[in-house]
């Protein structure tokens, strides 16, 4: 056991930490208030090669490991969860399925553009009636003229409207559940793909989330990712490592909240001394720090297992469950340390609370994580 970052990972941490501090931090409040998609930051991340973190170097990516990916997401999320989720979804569930399951042509065609940030990626699995029960899709893929025609509605799609590529899941055999699902690579410019208006949300205001409509959307045989019927497995594998990203996002939100709470507690004087000297504040800060430390180790452990090509489904689910529940509690506690000021939108504390809530819901609600974890407990 040696729980240390490699020199390369330390380099990445330094690079992304500077990027987050210099570029993301000053923009965070405006992104939240305006609800505008931060194209400028996405471009700056692209300039640093941060849109192809998991893409092999031969396709123009950085070819880094999942611990580096987790560090990247965490550092950005310390200041702006909207930006981190955009970059997370793109690098992880949007791009990684092609890295893992794409054939050579698909990799050449998509990965180079994705890695350079010429196109942003989205992951289109969830439907209005298929959320946690993702095997029960209604979107159909019907074979026609040596290709497929897709029809159906997707909902809660991150990066919708901004993406140049959608990984779309549809069934070729309606009524046959998970076994009938296949994955398709659909360009953002496909005339059969339309995007609804951006949802107004509690938080993550800069992240575009919308419905995606597939209306007689024609794709070729060559656009199918993996085999017919392999789609559900691809989705689940993508979500396994996606959960590493969401865990890292939660760790970053919590760490940012703790850092601000510590700073405020040292400055704020009541009863003639800084509130940091009151034990009730100290206890809160200590409990926050412990849970963050544990959540980060769990995230990195799942990432390390993933990089070692060992099973990591259970570890990723545990990390996601633990880290996102911790982020919710910690952002609330950190707001409380700020008292009335924490409730004001002038400070980042309220925003973090709003942003943290999404982490308990997306990429598998925490109830679904418990089902995934318990499934193994029942079986073993």
């Amino acid at each position: 056991m040696e729980l240390a970052l490699s020199p390369e990972q330390e380099e990445i941490r330094k690079l992304v930490s500077e990027f987050a501090e210099r570029e993301v931090k000053p923009r965070a409040e405006a992104i939240d208030q305006s609800g505008e998609f931060p194209r400028d930051l996405v471009q700056k991340a692209a300039d640093l090669g941060l849109l192809g973190i998991l893409v092999p170097e031969e396709y123009g990516g950085a070819g880094l490991d999942h611990i580096s990916f987790a560090i990247f997401v965490e550092e950005v999320a310390r200041f702006c969860a909207s930006t981190s989720v955009i970059l997370d979804v793109h690098n992880s569930v949007g791009t990684e399925p092609i890295v893992l399951f794409g054939n050579e042509d698909q990799r050449r065609r998509w990965l180079v553009d994705l890695a350079q940030g010429k196109k942003l990626a989205a992951f289109a699995l969830t439907e209005p009636d298929a959320g946690s029960d993702a095997g029960n899709l209604s979107t159909t893929a019907t074979r026609r003229d040596g290709g497929y025609v897709l029809n159906g509605t997707k909902i809660f799609i991150s990066n919708a409207g901004e993406a140049g590529l959608y990984v779309v899941f549809a069934t070729t055999r309606p009524g046959s559940g998970a076994e009938g699902i296949s994955a398709f690579l659909v360009g953002g410019d496909n005339p059969g793909l339309k995007v609804g208006p951006k949802f107004k949300k509690m938080g993550l205001n800069g992240s575009a989330i919308a419905e995606v409509y597939l209306e007689n959307c024609v794709v070729g045989e060559a656009d199918r990712l993996g085999q017919e019927g392999e789609g559900f497995r691809i989705a689940m594998r993508a979500l396994d490592s996606g959960r590493i990203g969401i865990s890292a996002q939660a760790v970053g939100l919590a760490q940012g909240a703790l850092n601000d709470a510590v700073g405020y507690a040292r400055e704020r004087k009541q009863f003639g001394k800084p509130i940091a000297e009151l034990q009730t504040i100290q206890n809160k800060l200590a409990d926050m720090a412990v849970r963050i430390r544990a959540a980060r180790w769990m995230t990195w452990k799942a990432a390390a297992l993933c990089d070692a090509r060992q099973p990591f489904t259970r570890e990723a689910s545990m990390a996601k469950l633990f880290a996102t529940d911790a982020a919710m509690d910690i952002t609330l506690d950190a707001l409380q340390v700020f008292g009335g000021y924490g409730y004001l939108e002038e400070y980042p504390m309220a925003r973090r609370v709003r942003d943290a809530k999404a982490c308990q819901i997306y990429e598998g609600t925490n109830q679904v994580q418990r089902i995934v974890i318990a499934r193994e407990l029942v079986r073993v």
Binding site: V262, A289, V290, A295, W297, I373
Partner: protein
Amino acid sequence: MDFSLNEEQQQIREMVHDLCLERVEPRAAEIDESGEFPWDVKELFAKHDILAIPFTPEYGGISGGALTLIVAVEEISKFCVTSSLILSVQSLGSLPIWLAGTEEQKRRYLPPLARGEHLAAYALTEPGSGSDAGGMRTRAIKRGDRYVINGSKTFITGGSVADTIVVFARTDQDGDTPARNISAFIVEKTMPGFKVGKLEKKLGIRGSPTAQLFFEDLEVPAANRLGGEGEGFRLAMRVLDHSRPGIAAQALGIAEGAFDLARRYARDRHQFGKPIVEFQGIQFMLADMATQIEAARALTYASGDALDRSLPDIGSSSSMAKLFASDTAMRVTTDAVQILGGYGYLRDFPAERMMRDAKITQIYEGTNEIQRFVIARELLKDSA
């Protein structure tokens, strides 16, 4: 980043696991019921070199690695926490000698401990000084080449069975003010003036004797002082930094033992025509227990890794591990009793014993309130 155990650690884990499954688990309920120190388990551990784990080969041991010790304590604790304390206290009592002893002191005292011929204890706490160790009253006055110790200690784990006891006493002559000058001494139980008082009756860890110790004009050679005069308080705190991961390991083991029990029960127990593990209410409890255990394990192993690599933040990483793992043990054992329902409340099942044993891990070697204080202090210092 490498999260895996090395070969030595895996081998020791398997060895300790198999031995405890066969020889310790069947004794656990009796040990709890009788409240007697399990000499047979102590002999078993000595014979299989388990008591040699905390020591390096040059002093007759087999490892000396922090993470290796953690893994061993964790395995024993899955079956019997009282038994795990035999190993934990052997480590705790010898740590001051290991950390501050001269070569001569180490050569004299460590090998018999490593062989399990002697048992060790660590005597810091007093009736009036628990979390506030600086408030101690036990006094050591220098007379020529000896110190004369007077006073008493309380809550001394293994105090009545130990041969070698490290005693902390104040060497200032200030009277009843907070201690300014604390020193540590190696005391042997055969020294005149060493007396064992009553053994406490406790909620749990009943087979582990918790003793009061009295020192009446106890004369110790000056050569038995550990480190310089006045260096005792710092040594006591350093020892606890090194030993808290062991309490975290104990708590982790208890939680894992209780979780395994609850999971097995939930698979066997049928209600409404199916095993109760098929109900989501039970599944979610088990999933939360497993996740908390995974988090506790991460922090505990990380603190062992930090010790083995002498990282600068040993203090806060061991406090974090102890705090989180012990709170986890309390929650998980309480939930395990709940999953077993009425049976969980009965002495016939080990769940209630695990819950009683878990409580102590939130209290000793620094209450969890003290751990939070330590962690917060570091946190507020870091950002200065």
